[in-house]
Symmetry: C2
Subunit: 353 residues, 2 copies
DNA sequence: TTGAAAGCGCTAACAA
DNA sequence: TTGTTAGCGCTTTCAA
């Protein structure tokens, strides 16, 4: 097979155009100090020869690697892929991230890292040393892992923290969780609901708190109480079922429930069915995530759409800009929206009909 | 920000261990001619310093890039991602491909290429020149695009053609389409069906033909006719609906239908509903793909599971081995399996009940 | 079995 | 505005 070498290099272009390597390099990188005529001549040679710079060589000479690394939790991601239940978090990241990368001549690479192990630093450090990415996108629960953010900061690699508002190095980004929860709550209030239950996510996700806060404050603003109407889950089905049992077992049971994940929403649906409650007649239900799964339930679920693709796209842009502009001072917020489907309806005013 | 350089390089390790660069290189690459004691000493320094080789530098010096490129059709992939209907083809490729890559110190990168444009060569050529991948995985409809396979062969880059049995350069791989279609057909025959319709995929996918052939030969072996019971679609919903209308409109309508994609199967379900046919009582239905979507229909669909993850995993292994071993002479076949759910049932013997 | 030298393709720094 | 030089981190010769 022999060693594969670049077929067309900067040298070929330089020779063809009759200029120095440096001039070609300047044209490639769109740098100033090249006369238009010169630029045109070089570009013609580039096109003629079909030259494309090697990112390995570019990286070697101290320039960019044109690589953005998206770090996801290993166990969670693999579990989702194996379950084949249609969760498309990764796909949406790719949709937003890859396409935006492509627009700028970058590539996005997914890396799975085990959050809960004690060798996070080793794993991530190895990926960074091997790939030398120009930017890193962190997703929860990595976004607030100080072992990770510390390492990245130390290495001077720009990174985005999706789902984090914390101060500190890196670009904080959120999907407007508080706002979104309020959106869902207001929707239910408009439908006449007054007792609206909430199933929160686990405490180690900051966004769990933000969502709770959005729900509670929306209720308060409307003059209703949130007291005793919040249960915590871990985003999984089982925990959602337990939470639903507790909420629906209350003497003053809620007439609507907001679940912080689609799995927990499915659990609510199931528990309601077992208890003979009709959704949406007896119980309205709003889910977070809006992953494909919620369209196929009976009824299809009203859901908060998490703007994952838009957030990933924005993250890539900010990361690429990071070499010039400083990171935004405030957390970057991409707002989600409410998608109304069949699981929410007017509250029954009279307990009878 | 300044230029980011590798923090720990082979030089540091060499200095720490008191040996030459070359010796360290030999240890990294597990090459012979290193005394065990020496190897141990070097390895100790590597571990101590947390050294990880830069793939850019490795690639530069004519060695591997440790990159495997998975080429998918741009429009198809983006459409799937945007539709958010749970198709997880990409996820399954990542599941099989990425994890296997990781086991061998490789990374997998997805690249979207526009098949139908006239600049396929330019697009793919650019990706190859930029990334210098050690191997490429082609998925349909790229697998049998001679512009692509020709380019890859010319550049001497090992590649796998998923969904292709053709002779020629590259590793041909199939997911056992003929066998799978037979599996589905035999399942229906065992349930007592004799008139089994088939909705084929488009002609430019070789696998469309293989599936047809599996279905037809299974029918023939059982002594039944396939005459007039095959309609062609394009894998999409609309085409499936048209095909279903034609099949169910026959005077001797089939009592069971096999659809070559889940979208077409959904269409059959819809057409059956419109015609007042109960699935599975009046009509049995088997789908290809087994993507998440088919579990959420009413009833859930019996489906052929395409072993995408396993195939991607095997492709990666073969590609990595390609530098040593020659490619397999015969097409590599990873068989799928039938997942029985609620859309198939016994054929009614009497037309009455 | 080990080491020294050369060079991969490119860019930063400097010189003209 | 353009060109020259040196060097990135590594592996491949080739020599010891």
């Amino acid at each position: 097979m022999g060693r594969r070498r670049q077929s067309v290099t900067i040298k070929h272009v330089a020779a063809d155009a009759g200029v120095s390597l440096q001039t070609v390099s300047r044209v490639i990188n769109n740098e100033p100090n090249v006369r238009p005529a010169m630029k045109e001549r070089v570009q013609a040679s580039i096109d003629k020869l079909g030259y494309v710079p090697s990112i390995a060589a570019q990286r070697m000479s101290g320039s960019r690697s044109y690589l953005i690394l998206a770090i996801n939790d290993r166990d969670l991601t693999i579990a989702d892929w194996k379950a084949r239940e249609g969760r498309d978090w990764v796909d949406q990241m790719l949709l937003g991230g890859m396409l935006t990368c492509a627009e700028h001549g970058y590539r996005m690479l997914i890396e799975l890292v085990d959050t809960h192990s004690d060798h996070v630093e080793r794993e991530l450090g190895a990926a960074i040393a091997a790939l030398q990415p120009d930017g890193v996108i962190l997703t929860p629960p990595h976004s607030e892992n100080s072992l990770i953010t510390g390492l990245l900061a130390e290495k001077g690699i720009p990174f985005a923290r999706i789902g984090s508002k914390q101060e500190g190095p890196g670009i904080a980004m959120t999907m407007g969780d508080s706002h979104n929860a309020r959106l869902a709550t207001d929707h239910l209030i408009e439908l006449g609901h007054e007792r609206i239950g909430f199933i929160a996510g686990p405490e180690d996700f900051s966004l769990s708190g933000w969502r709770m806060e959005g729900w509670a404050s929306a209720l308060e603003d409307a003059g209703f109480s949130s007291e005793g109407l919040c249960e915590r889950g871990d985003f999984g089905f089982e925990s959602g079922a337990r939470a639903a049992e507790r909420l629906l077992g209350l003497t003053e049971a809620p007439t609507a429930i907001i679940a912080s994940s689609d799995q927990m929403a499915l659990a609510v649906l199931e528990v309601a069915r077992r208890r003979g409650l009709n959704v949406p007649k007896d119980l309205s239900l709003v889910s977070f995530d809006n992953s494909p799964i919620v369209r196929f339930t009976q009824p299809a679920l009203t859901a908060i759409d998490q703007p994952i693709a838009a957030t990933a796209a924005r993250a890539v842009e900010l990361l690429i800009d990071a070499r010039k502009k400083p990171a935004p001072a405030e957390p970057v917020q991409i707002q989600g929206e409410l998608v109304v489907r069949g699981s929410t309806a007017s509250a029954r005013v009279d307990a009878g009909s």
